[in-house]
C-alpha cells in the first residue's frame, strides 16, 4: 500500500484519466450523468477508507460530513445566492470542522464503540437536517439548488467533477504515501506498539478523521449540485452503511480499492434495479460471495489472480 506506483500503475492511471476525459465525447447524456455520480461516490468511499483502512476504525456515520458539505453548499448557493467558490469552500469547511469536533470525542474510543459514537453523531446531524425546516426544508428536501450558470450544463459539470475528484484523489494519494500515512498504518496494525515508537496515536487518528471529513464534504457538495437537491436521507445511517459497503467491497488495504468498490456497487445497484424489484437479494448474495470467498475485497482477488498468473506476489499499488 505504501509502495509508489509501478510502471504498470502509471500507465493504468493515465489510461483511466484519458478515458474519463474522453467520456463525454464518446458517451451519451446517460453515461455523463452516471460517470459524474460514480466519481462522486468514489471520492466519498476513498475518504472513508482513510478512517477504516489507514487508521483501523470503522466509522458508521460518515454520511454526516457528506450531508453537511452538500447542505451548506446548496443552502449558500440557493438561499443566500453566494457565488460558487465561497459556497463550496464554506460547505467543505463546515464538514471538516464538524468532523474535527466529532473526531475529538470519537478517537478516545476504538472498535465497536468508535463505530457507535460516529453513528450517534451522524444521527444528530440527520435530526438537525430533518427538524430545521426553515433552513433545510426538512424532509421535503432542499429541492432546486441554484447551480452557477457556468456549471449548469451536463458536460461542464462533469469536467468540473473530474477535476475536483482527480485532484482530491491525488492529494489523498500523497497523504497516504507520506510519513503520515505510514504512521497511520502503524497505528492500525498495532495501537500499543505505535505508541511505543513515539507516534501520538490519538492525534493521528484525529487527523485522519478530519481529512476524511474534508473529502466527504467535497463529495457531498458535488452531489448536491449534481442532483440539484439535498435530502435528509443523505445523512441517514443507511447512507453511511452504503458507502461502508462500497469501501469494503473494493478492499480496504489498497489505495484504489474503495474507488473500485464504489464503481462496482454503484453499477450493480443500477443494473439490478433495472431488472428486478428483488435487487436487495442480488446485492445480498453478492456480498455473501465476497465475504465467504473474497475476504480481501475485489482488489485482493485481483492481486491473488495476477500473483497466480505471474507466479509471484508483487503487484502492490498496481491496481
Amino acid at each position: 500500500m505504501t509502495a509508489p506506483l509501478t510502471a504498470f500503475g502509471k500507465v493504468a492511471c493515465l489510461v483511466i484519466l484519458l478515458a474519463l476525459l474522453a467520456l463525454p465525447v464518446i458517451g451519451s447524456d446517460y453515461l455523463i450523468d452516471i460517470g459524474t455520480e460514480m466519481l462522486i461516490f468514489a471520492l466519498f468511499a476513498l475518504s472513508l477508507n482513510l478512517i477504516i483502512g489507514y487508521s483501523g476504525n470503522v466509522s458508521f456515520g460518515h454520511a454526516a460530513y457528506f450531508a453537511i458539505g452538500g447542505y451548506v453548499n446548496a443552502i449558500l448557493l440557493t438561499t443566500y445566492g453566494w457565488p460558487l467558490l465561497p459556497a463550496f469552500v464554506t460547505g467543505v469547511l463546515a464538514a471538516t470542522l464538524t468532523a474535527a469536533v466529532v473526531a475529538y470525542f470519537c478517537t478516545r474510543l476504538t472498535d465497536i464503540y468508535f463505530a457507535m459514537l460516529t453513528l450517534a453523531f451522524s444521527m444528530l446531524v440527520w435530526a438537525i437536517a430533518f427538524k430545521w425546516r426553515s433552513v433545510t426544508h426538512g424532509d421535503d428536501g432542499f429541492v432546486g439548488v441554484t447551480v452557477p450558470a457556468l456549471l449548469d450544463d451536463r458536460m461542464r459539470f462533469y469536467y468540473f467533477t473530474v477535476i475536483i475528484v482527480v485532484a482530491s484523489i491525488a492529494v489523498l494519494w500523497v497523504i497516504t504515501h507520506s510519513a503520515f500515512g505510514r504512521s497511520l498504518v502503524a497505528v492500525r496494525e498495532n495501537l500499543g506498539r505505535a505508541g511505543f515508537i513515539g507516534i501520538h496515536t490519538r492525534r493521528m487518528r484525529w487527523q485522519a478523521f478530519v481529512v476524511a471529513g474534508f473529502f466527504a464534504g467535497v463529495a457531498g457538495a458535488l452531489f448536491g449540485m449534481l442532483i440539484k437537491g439535498m435530502y435528509v436521507e443523505s445523512a441517514f445511517w443507511t447512507q453511511s452503511a452504503q458507502v461502508l459497503i462500497m469501501t469494503l467491497l473494493g478492499g480496504i488495504y489498497s489505495f484504489f480499492g474503495p474507488i473500485i468498490g464504489a464503481a462496482v456497487l454503484f453499477m450493480l445497484e443500477r443494473l439490478t434495479n433495472e431488472y428486478t424489484e428483488y435487487w436487495p437479494t442480488v446485492l445480498g448474495v453478492i456480498l455473501l460471495v465476497i465475504l465467504l470467498f473474497l475476504p480481501d475485497g475485489l482488489v485482493g482477488l485481483g492481486k491473488r489472480l495476477t500473483a497466480k498468473a505471474k507466479g509471484k506476489d508483487k503487484t502492490e499499488g498496481a491496481t
Binding site: 465497536i112 459514537l117 450517534a120 427538524k131 456480498l287 465475504l291
Partner: protein
C-alpha cells in the same frame, strides 16, 4: 413558578401538577422498555459470546411479528402459541444461518461479520416480501388482555402491564441460565478464552450455535409480543435495530443487566422527553447514547476494553 414552567414546557407542568399523568408516563416507559429489553437482550447475548454485532437482529424481530400474524390470525391459534411459534421459527432460521454462514467467519474481522449480517438483512427482507407480500397486517390482543386494568391510581392497558411483568421474568430466566447452569458457565468461559475451552475438550461450536439460536429466539419472541401494537409491515426492522443498538451500547455490550437498564432508560428518556420537549423526540435516544459514550465509553455495565484498545 408553575406558570413559568407552563410557558416553557406545558408537558413538564402537567407532569409536575398531575401525579396520575406522571404515573402513566412511568408505566409507558417501563412497558416500552421491557418489550425492547427482550429483543435487545438477544442482541447483547450474541455479541457477548460471538462478538458479532448482528444487524439481522431487526429482521429476525420482523419475522417474529409476521410468524405471529400467520399463526394467530390466519390459522387462528391462541396468542401464546403464536408467540412460541415465532420464537421457535426464529430459532430454526438462526440454526440454519449459524451453521451455514456464521460459522465461516468467526475468525474474520468484525467488519466482515458486520457485512455478513447486513447481507442477511437484505436477503431476508425480500424473503419476507415473497412469503407475506406487501400488505400491512394487524394482530389482535389476546382476548383477556384487550382492555385496561384498574391499578387504583388509574386504569392501564392490561397487555402493557403484562409486558412490564414478562420483561423481568425473561431477565431472571436468562440470569439463571447464565449463572446457574453448566451451559451458562461454558458460555461465560467462551467469552473469555475459547481456545482454552476447546483445549479442555468443550465443544465450542455447539455453544456458539446455542447462543445464536437463543438470542435470535428472543428477537422472534419480542417481535411476536410487539405485533399487537406494532403491525407487521415491510421495513419495520429499520428503526428497531437502531433502537436496540442504542440500548445495548448504553447498557454495555454483552451485559444482561446492561440491556435491562439500558432499555428502561430508553423508555424513560423517550416518554418523558416526548412530553417535556415534544419537538425533539427524534434525538433523545441519540443524546442518551452520546452522553453515556462520552462519560463511560464502555457502557453503564460494560467493562473497559482490554489492552488500551
Amino acid at each position: 413558578m408553575i406558570d413559568l414552567i407552563r410557558d416553557l414546557s406545558p408537558g413538564l407542568a402537567t407532569l409536575l401538577t398531575n401525579p396520575q399523568f406522571a404515573f402513566i408516563q412511568l408505566m409507558n416507559s417501563i412497558s416500552q422498555g421491557m418489550n425492547l429489553f427482550i429483543i435487545a437482550a438477544g442482541l447483547s447475548l450474541i455479541f457477548g459470546v460471538l462478538k458479532v454485532i448482528n444487524f439481522a437482529h431487526g429482521v429476525f424481530y420482523m419475522f417474529g411479528a409476521y410468524v405471529m400474524y400467520s399463526v394467530s390470525q390466519e390459522f387462528g391459534a391462541p396468542f401464546w402459541l403464536g408467540a412460541l411459534a415465532a420464537a421457535g421459527a426464529l430459532g430454526l432460521i438462526a440454526l440454519l444461518i449459524e451453521r451455514t454462514l456464521f460459522r465461516q467467519i468467526y475468525e474474520a474481522e468484525h467488519l466482515m461479520q458486520l457485512l455478513l449480517t447486513f447481507a442477511i438483512v437484505l436477503i431476508m427482507g425480500d424473503v419476507a416480501k415473497i412469503i407475506w407480500g406487501t400488505d400491512q397486517y394487524s394482530v389482535s390482543y389476546p382476548a383477556s388482555m384487550s382492555g385496561a386494568t384498574d391499578l387504583g391510581v388509574t386504569f392501564y392497558p392490561t397487555y402493557r402491564l403484562m409486558l412490564c411483568l414478562i420483561g423481568p421474568v425473561i431477565l431472571i430466566l436468562l440470569y439463571w441460565f447464565a449463572e446457574r447452569t453448566r451451559w451458562g458457565r461454558m458460555t461465560r468461559a467462551a467469552t473469555q478464552d475459547r481456545e482454552m475451552l476447546a483445549a479442555l475438550g468443550v465443544n465450542v461450536p455447539v455453544i456458539y450455535t446455542s447462543v445464536f439460536v437463543i438470542g435470535s429466539m428472543l428477537a422472534g419472541f419480542g417481535g411476536a409480543l410487539a405485533s399487537p401494537f406494532s403491525s407487521p409491515v415491510p421495513g419495520m426492522d429499520a428503526t428497531l435495530i437502531v433502537d436496540c443498538f442504542v440500548i445495548v451500547i448504553v447498557g454495555g455490550l454483552g451485559s444482561l443487566w446492561g440491556s435491562f437498564v439500558g432499555a428502561l432508560l430508553y423508555g424513560l428518556v423517550f416518554n418523558f422527553g416526548s412530553v417535556i420537549f415534544p419537538n425533539a423526540q427524534d434525538i433523545f435516544a441519540f443524546m442518551l447514547l452520546l452522553i453515556v459514550l462520552l462519560i463511560r465509553p464502555w457502557g453503564l455495565f460494560g467493562k473497559p476494553e482490554a489492552g488500551g484498545h
